[in-house]
């Protein structure tokens, strides 16, 4: 504290927030206010119910003007939440916003401390640390940078499609990257959507076509993100266009190549039909695919396996679209904002052996049934067992892989509703007896509960109980040849054995297996379950902690189509709002070199991850290019002569903060 520079009289104002009872319920505010008022340089110390509210901010602004305060400390929540708010208030009152420091006495004190006395002591220490630190703060200027107006959207499911269209319609350029050969995602596989039972492809296909035809959308299918560089407003993105061996520009989707393939019949599991039908090595994923173009799977194509195929597909293509020599291609694009909409994966039920998936052929995953009931699916919409029989009784098991600490703890949110939908469709197509086994029926949504009632009227048996096992173990003659579901009917309190022909496992939603790679590429965070983490669960649901990167749809957590679209459009709006600012102000926490102290030792140069530091041969000193500096401070910590310094994180500021914190 003795080292304060002589830049005029220092007048600190301290403001302690109650945050309703969030802080005041644990911390003795009066004591902290009293304590703060006695700290050095403190002119005024006040409390208020909600500092972030208008009257709270007014209090600060008035004091700045009337008491000539030139340093402000607010002790309230995390700076990640309201630092911005209070800096703005300082600025409004004519004080440089960087003469401000925040003490986090909510997240780091009142919410994590049981004893009131301890919490009060800790709050005092945090306030002291902030006051000691703010004394060393100085006025700083923000630098601004231009924002690239293009937007990258990762993932071409309903979330990515919706976000792309909103952004593109506003006149901005969109790069939409999808890793499958067609956009459409999971929704393209569904027949009907709950609770309205409107046809999924009737509402999705027009949107897919719009994407294809939109002048502002550049579509990259069968492509993945390779590298992301840069920061908000100026991202450089490398996209790997995987070789599809069919030129999308030339292909018209006439199927001639597929008919000509040396395989007369499909032989390999069809991914789009969840393996319920077979495809050839050259195929079009589904008739409404966008782009409507064939793709060759090199893992099954004879030409790629042996090099000795007749290449009848190539000969059949009049437009010469097939190119066996095609290679992966890297395309680099520049964008100002990124929307991540990478979706989810369905739970693999073979992880629960007692449900018999993979062992009993009439145990299905729900997504397989979506294909079975789909009129463009492998059976033309007929619900039949693998041996061709029509099931007379069907059991639908909810919460498979969800709400279970042995697998995934979360509720997948969509399973109750899609199970009801499948129950309806199966009943409609087969007139079978349908049993739904649920733990809790979760139908919060517009028209959802009504749909549940409709199903009850239709005569579906609703049995409350988590199924213990599905077996082929027959005890009675009626059970022979059937799958037996054993469950406690918890509403009656009796264990039941129910023989059925078909079992449907309502599998839950999981993060994509490679979500972690996307997370690293974009420098965003995941929740511990693996879903992408939003900046704030309520107030910033589509932002991330990395500026300029937004998230939409099920990659953030399980959600249904309406919620996904709402979030996608919100993410698009956020991205547009960012881009339309044209310029972005950067946090002035960059480093610089004190030329007089620099000995030219080179230590910092090798450390900088952004190559922002160079050596000036003439003056024999290091020089930092502040446009490249991102403000990590690694060079500062390493500089042996203290020549490197970082704004907002000056050594003196941190020393003072540490001293103050150790009350």
């Amino acid at each position: 504290m003795d080292k304060i520079k002589g830049n005029g009289e220092i007048r600190v104002g301290v403001y302690i927030c109650h945050c309703g009872t969030n802080i005041a319920g644990r911390v003795n505010i009066k004591e902290v206010v009293e304590f703060a008022s006695k700290l050095p340089y403190v002119v005024v110390s006040r409390e208020y119910k909600y500092m972030c509210s208008d009257p709270g901010q007014e209090l600060i602004k008035n004091d700045i003007k009337e008491l000539k305060l030139n340093r402000i400390v607010v002790a309230s929540c995390s700076p990640h939440l309201h630092e911005h708010t209070f800096r703005k208030a300082c600025e409004d009152a004519g004080l440089n916003p960087f003469n401000f420091q925040m003490a986090n006495i909510r997240e780091h004190v009142s919410w994590v401390t049981k004893e009131s006395k301890e919490a009060t002591e800790k709050a005092k220490a945090m306030v002291r640390a902030a006051v000691y630190r703010v004394v060393f703060h100085e006025s700083l200027e923000r630098k601004s940078q231009e924002i690239n107006p293009n937007v990258l959207v990762i993932g071409g499911g309903i979330a990515g499609i919706s976000a792309s269209l909103v952004v593109a319609d506003s006149g901005k350029k969109v790069y939409l990257v999808e890793r499958e050969p067609s956009i459409g995602g999971h929704m393209a596989k569904f027949d009907k959507t709950f609770p309205t039972l409107d046809c999924a492809s009737c509402i999705l296909t027009p949107k897919m076509t719009q994407v294809k035809d939109h002048p502002n959308i550049e579509l990259f299918t069968y492509s993945e993100i390779e590298e992301v560089d840069g920061y908000v407003g100026n991202f450089k993105v490398k996209i790997r266009k995987r070789a599809r061996y069919v030129d999308v520009e030339k292909c018209v989707g006439c199927y001639a190549c597929i008919e000509a393939c040396v395989y007369k019949e499909g032989k390999f599991p069809d991914e789009f039909n969840e393996g319920l039908s077979k495809r050839k090595p050259i195929y079009i994923p589904f008739p409404q695919a966008v782009p409507l173009a064939a793709v060759i799977d090199p893992a099954t194509c004879i030409q790629f396996l042996s090099g000795k195929c007749k290449r009848s597909c190539q000969q059949a293509c009049e437009r010469g679209a097939i190119d066996f020599d095609m290679r992966d291609e890297i395309v680099e694009v520049q964008v100002g904002a990124i929307i991540v909409a990478t979706g989810f994966k369905t739970f693999d039920p073979s992880r629960i052996p007692q449900y018999g998936y993979g062992r009993y052929q009439n145990v299905y995953k729900s997504i397989e049934i979506e294909r079975l009931v789909n009129s463009s699916g492998p059976t033309g919409g007929e619900v039949i067992l693998r041996d061709g029989r029509k099931p007379q009784s069907v059991g639908i098991i909810h919460c498979v892989g969800s709400r279970d600490k042995n697998y995934n703890i979360w509720c997948s949110r969509v399973c109750c509703m899609y199970s009801l939908k499948l129950a309806h469709l199966i009943k409609e197509r087969t007139h079978a007896e349908v049993y739904c086994f649920y733990i809790d029926m979760r139908t919060p949504g517009k028209g959802y509960e009504e749909f549940y009632h409709k199903l009850m009227e239709e005569g579906v048996h609703f049995i409350r109980g988590k199924v213990a096992e599905v077996t082929d173990w027959a005890i009675t003659p009626e059970e022979e040849g059937k799958l037996v579901i054993r469950v406690e009917d918890t509403l009656i309190g009796v264990v039941r054995r129910i023989p059925v022909d078909m079992v449907v496992l309502a599998v839950g939603l999981e993060p994509q297996p490679d979500a972690d790679e996307i997370r690293r590429l974009l420098n965003i965070s995941c929740s511990k379950e693996g879903w992408f983490l939003e900046r704030h669960p309520k107030l910033a649901p589509v932002s991330t902690f990395t500026d300029g990167v937004f998230i939409a749809g099920a990659c953030q957590g399980p959600k249904d189509i309406p919620d996904t679209v709402a979030q996608a459009e919100a993410a698009a709006a956020e991205a547009l709002s960012l881009i339309d600012r044209k310029k972005i102000e950067l946090e002035p926490n960059t480093a610089w070199i004190d030329e007089e102290k620099c000995s030219g030792c080179h230590i910092c140069i090798g450390l900088c991850p952004y190559s922002a530091i160079s050596y000036n041969e003439e003056r024999k000193i290091a020089v930092i290019n502040e446009a490249l500096c991102k403000g990590c401070g690694v060079c500062v910590a390493a500089c042996p002569s203290k020549a490197a310094q970082q704004r907002l994180f000056l050594d003196d500021q941190i020393y003072a903060e540490i001293e103050g914190a150790l009350l």
């Binding site: 780091h108 919410w111 994590v112 004893e115 965070s525 990395t546 403000g631 690694v634 910590a637 150790l662």
Partner: protein, 149 residues
């Protein structure tokens, strides 16, 4: 406080992007932990100058916890690797100085690991509580002895 046991002072220096956010998350999730820790924020754990640590001990910290992003997850590409290198050297220096090296700990705690933060702070506080005040370490005893002369 409880049982008149020694209550250590603990300084936490957390990076802005991972561990500081984990502490925020622990708060939002109401995961309580001992109040001994005082948290100071730097943008990257790579900003932690070894002198911060020494300054902390000098100013009465009985234990110092540095928190950074997991290897490979650093917001600034590889600042945390530099932290690790410095940390290892710093531990040796502390040993030489006669300060128990257990008083300094480095942990990788990501933004989603509120639970880990709680666990680490609990463990570390307990460990330091058992070690006793830093003034009982050799370095400080020597200093005190010097002083008396």
């Amino acid at each position: 406080m409880k049982d008149n046991k020694f209550e250590p002072k603990i300084l936490g220096i957390f990076c802005n992007w991972c561990t500081y956010l984990a502490a925020d998350l622990a708060g939002v999730s109401r995961m309580d932990y001992p109040s001994n820790i005082r948290i100071v924020r730097t943008m990257c754990s790579g900003r932690v100058d070894p002198q911060f640590v020494l300054w902390g001990f000098k100013n009465g910290a009985d234990g110092i916890l540095i928190g950074g992003c997991h290897p490979g997850d650093c917001h600034y590409i590889e600042g945390n690797y530099k932290t690790l290198r410095r940390y290892l050297i710093l531990k040796r220096i502390l040993r030489e100085m006669g300060i128990n090296e257990k008083r300094l700990r480095l942990e990788w705690i990501s933004a989603s690991e509120g639970e880990k933060l709680q666990r680490v702070v609990r463990e570390f506080t307990e460990e330091i509580r058992n070690l006793g005040p830093i003034s009982e370490d050799r370095a400080f005893k020597l200093q005190l002895a010097e002083h008396k002369k």
